[in-house]
Point group: C2
Chain length 208, copies 2
């Protein structure tokens, strides 16, 4: 039911807020009324942070991660191993992998995964630019770090085939038990993979 | 876990967004990345709508509802019955009651309910200004429309006592069965009230 707010300004803010994913009209109204109760400076800070962010953040021309400059800080970091590139679906996955501190190479953000149902074909993704990087930057290793879903696996396989003739090592993230999970609650597919891909016990002592 | 975003602008927008109620850091990041994927004009429209709303909406000096002018459109509407005032907890309740189209009088927004646990005393609410309105505006009826909670009932009773000596009719919203609910799932207190306050069957035909 559409409710009238007796204020076009409130109406407008609610309409804009409810365009955000996961935010309906009721939540949007709750957020707007919250802002009205707080200091004006808070609403101004929020509004300006959104506008400034959107106006100044673009995408890195090399890895397609978000960046305030032409090339992002990760690509520009000379301490990182520029011969290893980790392929991820989106910007959020870069943040997630960075938080593990286990990848010292660069990234390549595809912008999605192949998904015919959603109308996403290889041409919609940054796959050609990845192939180009492998050749031009003489990459030694490409780590496929897509989600272990049908779409992710399809994309992994597509990229693997495209890279097959190039002198580059193609690896993918290990699948196995989640740390902290009970064995009996692990699904059979994952458990089976973790047996196939078992590792020497001593290897868990060596730091990667 | 605090993740680093490699962008102070993104960091800033996420920090501001996560100040909103019910929005954590993860949701804030999801919203920010969504805005980065969409057109710049959308983010600008959202940001500006928030700032404009906060800068231009104030509170009606008469009923304390939100208003873009000194006095709100409801108070200014000469077609409404200015001798009947509906007392509500907050601005949202005005919108909710307006959407029923059953109240043709004015409003008085208390700004909360008496709640000693939350440190809200009668002095923090617009109760004195309500008493003043009853006298100055010669009100005929005050409809108490607070939530049927302990705090709401306490506030109802407090206002009722304050108005006891004034020549004004004090009414409150009916409590009874929710339309569409099964009888067996109605709590006993509500069911009991609905028996005490039963109405003539023929009265359901007459329009209020």
């Amino acid at each position: 039911m559409i409710q009238s707010f007796n204020s076009s300004l409130l109406e407008n803010a609610v309409a804009e807020l409810s365009k955000l994913p996961g935010i309906g009209r009721k939540t949007a109204l709750r957020l707007a009324l919250h802002m009205l109760r707080r200091e004006e400076s808070e609403a101004v800070a929020l509004g300006e942070s959104i506008i400034t962010m959107r106006k100044n953040i673009a995408y890195c021309s090399r890895c397609h991660n978000i960046s305030e400059q032409e090339v992002c800080p990760i690509c520009n970091d000379s301490r990182r191993d520029s011969s290893t590139v980790c392929v991820v679906e989106n910007v959020k996955d870069v943040i997630t992998i960075e938080s593990t501190h286990q990848h010292s190479g660069l990234y390549h953000v595809l912008g999605g995964v192949i998904s015919p149902l959603d109308g996403i074909s290889p041409a919609d993704l940054e796959i050609d630019s990845l192939i180009k990087r492998v050749t031009e930057e003489n990459l030694k290793e490409v780590i496929l770090a897509l989600s272990p879903t049908i779409e992710g696996d399809t994309t992994n396989f597509y990229i693997y085939r495209k890279l097959a003739d190039l002198p580059v090592r193609v690896t993918m993230l290990a699948r196995g038990l989640s740390i902290g999970n009970e064995l009996e609650y692990t699904d059979e597919l994952t458990l089976g993979k973790s047996i196939q891909n078992r590792v020497l016990f001593t290897s868990t002592f060596s730091k990667h």
